[in-house]
Assembly symmetry: C2
Homo-oligomer: 514 residues x 2
Amino acid sequence: MTQPNLTKNDGITPRSQDYSQWYLDVIKRADLAEHSAVRGCMVIKPHGYAIWEKMQRELDDRFKATGHVNAYFPLFIPLSYLTREEKHAAGFAKECAVVTHHRLKSIDGKVVVDPESKLEEPLVIRPTSETIIWDTYKGWIQSYRDLPLLINQWANVVRWEMRTRLFLRTAEFLWQEGHTAHATEKEALEETYRMLDVYADFAENIMAVPVIRGKKTPGERFAGALETLCIEGMMQDGKALQMGTSHYLGQNFAKSSDVTFLNAAGQREYVYATSWGVSTRLVGALIMTHSDDTGLILPPKLAPIHVVIVPIFKNDAEKIKVLEEAGKVAGELKAQGLVVKLDDREGIMPGAKYYEWEAKGVPVRIEIGPKDLEKGSLCLVRRFVLEKEGETEQEQRKRKKTFVPCAEALAGIKPLLDTMQRELLERAHLLRTKRSRVINSLAEFEQFFKDGGGFAWVHWAGTHEQEEEMAKRFETTIRCIPLPDQIPADAHGTGSCILTGQPSAQRVVMARAY
Amino acid sequence: MTQPNLTKNDGITPRSQDYSQWYLDVIKRADLAEHSAVRGCMVIKPHGYAIWEKMQRELDDRFKATGHVNAYFPLFIPLSYLTREEKHAAGFAKECAVVTHHRLKSIDGKVVVDPESKLEEPLVIRPTSETIIWDTYKGWIQSYRDLPLLINQWANVVRWEMRTRLFLRTAEFLWQEGHTAHATEKEALEETYRMLDVYADFAENIMAVPVIRGKKTPGERFAGALETLCIEGMMQDGKALQMGTSHYLGQNFAKSSDVTFLNAAGQREYVYATSWGVSTRLVGALIMTHSDDTGLILPPKLAPIHVVIVPIFKNDAEKIKVLEEAGKVAGELKAQGLVVKLDDREGIMPGAKYYEWEAKGVPVRIEIGPKDLEKGSLCLVRRFVLEKEGETEQEQRKRKKTFVPCAEALAGIKPLLDTMQRELLERAHLLRTKRSRVINSLAEFEQFFKDGGGFAWVHWAGTHEQEEEMAKRFETTIRCIPLPDQIPADAHGTGSCILTGQPSAQRVVMARAY
């Protein structure tokens, strides 16, 4: 997996030239994932998986802190279960991988599916687990004392997508799905909002991606939900990405699986449900929000490696001294709890190492050479700095690099990482602000998306069919109906629908989306 | 999921009466898992999954400490890939779940598999991932610089078993599978042994289950391996359980997927491979090694909850005082890094709480009542003590319970947990010693297994057919050919085969097994 000695930007198409290709190039250059031999499925390579592991740990801690426990339910869903909730079945029917046989057989030396091993009932690979989980909950819930039931599952799911894209849309993907059961509608709704907040907190404070919290329109709801809440992020090309959803399912699944409980008043009632999930798609969101033409940029809180140390030397005498110092520096940073990679590979030039680790998004590089030893200083290179207007690439490059006395450098890494984490969020905020606009006419709307688009804050009172008309004309969809506290000052208040002129209670966010 | 107010041992069949039923009863009473609606698949309930999570963390730390990284490969294996390695395909052909279609369809209001969505090539749900992973490695390995490649995957796999048993044998199970690539046979063999040692270390020092490290006989090797190493534990009924395997695959998979590399001498060579795995089966091993007729017993290092605190009071005035003290105690123990559960549920008698947490295997219980507050002491109850001969149940129960001044109790919990961890391993060692025998004649062998059996250390020089003969006659198999340092003093040396009288270089372990 060692990449050849590439130079800067090698193999990365600039964003300005072809954003889609840039995204794929960054994934390749940062060694995050690749298409597998199996249609629509990806291989998540070690560096990509390490980022997902960090996300998992952060999310899992938050789930547990809010009272949830993990469990595991079967991969397979009997066809008859999937179809119990009508809308749910309709929503997933077209993208189901179905197991029909359970044995292979050798016929004339060729291995084929044994026709005699046909299953009595086909098994669908879970596209999501509501149906099998609610069938299980039936045995777990008898009285209000058994509620709330707050369970999460980390699992793989399969949705047979026709057009796939690494991380963003793949036939198989990894995710977590929370499935909770409650005694009242109020509690279930509170849970739905609580988990949306958990996702938003994670997106902003860990991923450094600002998100808008909102509700989906009825046409965009999860199949079987009464309400779907979502967080929407903006990518660098101005397109929206749905980063997580939290559904209020009412009593739909309790009814289809007949899950009732005895309430405190001694009456039998159907249980109220929520479900919520985020997936490996978030790795795609991370890439598209922060990275640049040199490769991946990672918020320090999700970086599998915080600091890479590259030793520089010309002969064996220098090598011994430099490696000794590099080892010391690595040791002291590790003692601070940082993950440090001392890149002492032989046969690769320092420059090639710089580009490799930059492309992989390591936040800070330390270069150590004989001159640094003499001066007792270290050369620190940040993966990025906030852009200044009118600055040349060389000037910016210079700003990334500082020579700092050794002790000061060691004490300064953690604060530097905190700064970088904050600056990434700031930068993403800034981009979103630049590409968000309060729009009051269709003409302005059209022009906005002709000019590249972004988030259009518009009044809307159209029908589902009219939403589809907008999608056809402008390739835009209603990303969400933002929650009241998500609406910026200049977008408050009532108005009239951008398409129909009908009165509208609040603005929605329209955008092109992944 | 709250269990009714059960009393001690309720719903648990004694081991002496029916060991198999006891195993299932403990799982049910401890709320670890249950059969799902899907044939052969289990639901791992929160308490069972929490134990698996602790195992995962311990194992994952050890994999990373030995240089491995995690990645993720597709759930699906194209049929043609699975059949590339002939023996491998033959080994798994009879237990494959096969996906043949990718869409459902509504016909006359009934949802069925859409016949028009038939896949060109059937996809097998991975029973293990050698074939898809080695196909992927082909693109990752060019030269010796890319080696070794040390990758692990945490995943679900499916083997269509006809006779299933919770944790021990299920159609779908969770596991980790390491897949490594090396430049030389020597390195690959070293890796195979290294990972066996990692498993043995985990089994003994974390699970408190002593294991024998050995080689499988050729007939028992993993399909496609040149050598299969294993760790074998003994359960309380004297039966063996294979707890983990580490395979040396030679160049078999490299050849079937055409994975070559340029060695340092500039020659093209096939890559050498290993694979190794442990699964949720280990939860079964844990239960069967340590638990008793009261329920689950957990080694403290795998206990999701270390200490449960049960408050005792008769009126509101007592309740306030007791809960305040209980909260303080919980806080101080948490500050020590322990996981503490303060069971302040209302409407459940203290006695019922005792039995519930005992059945769930919490190592230490603290009872706090008004008398304890007066005396400034705490009542500590250990989940188990080492048995003393001739002791009544009541005497043993008394030894489990101690009243200790509060500060002393708080300081003593961690050392107590260490003691319990050590004692569980000791006890399991003792059991294994008691039920192991060096046997030199078939008559003695027959008698040993008539009397209940265990590990029989016997000389063996038979054929594979003769192994099968032994299996038919005595239900015993060769669990492993122990590595030299695993052979006890009284079992050393050469001898003659117990069945054929042919000369044998060393003894093997024969036993009945799960």
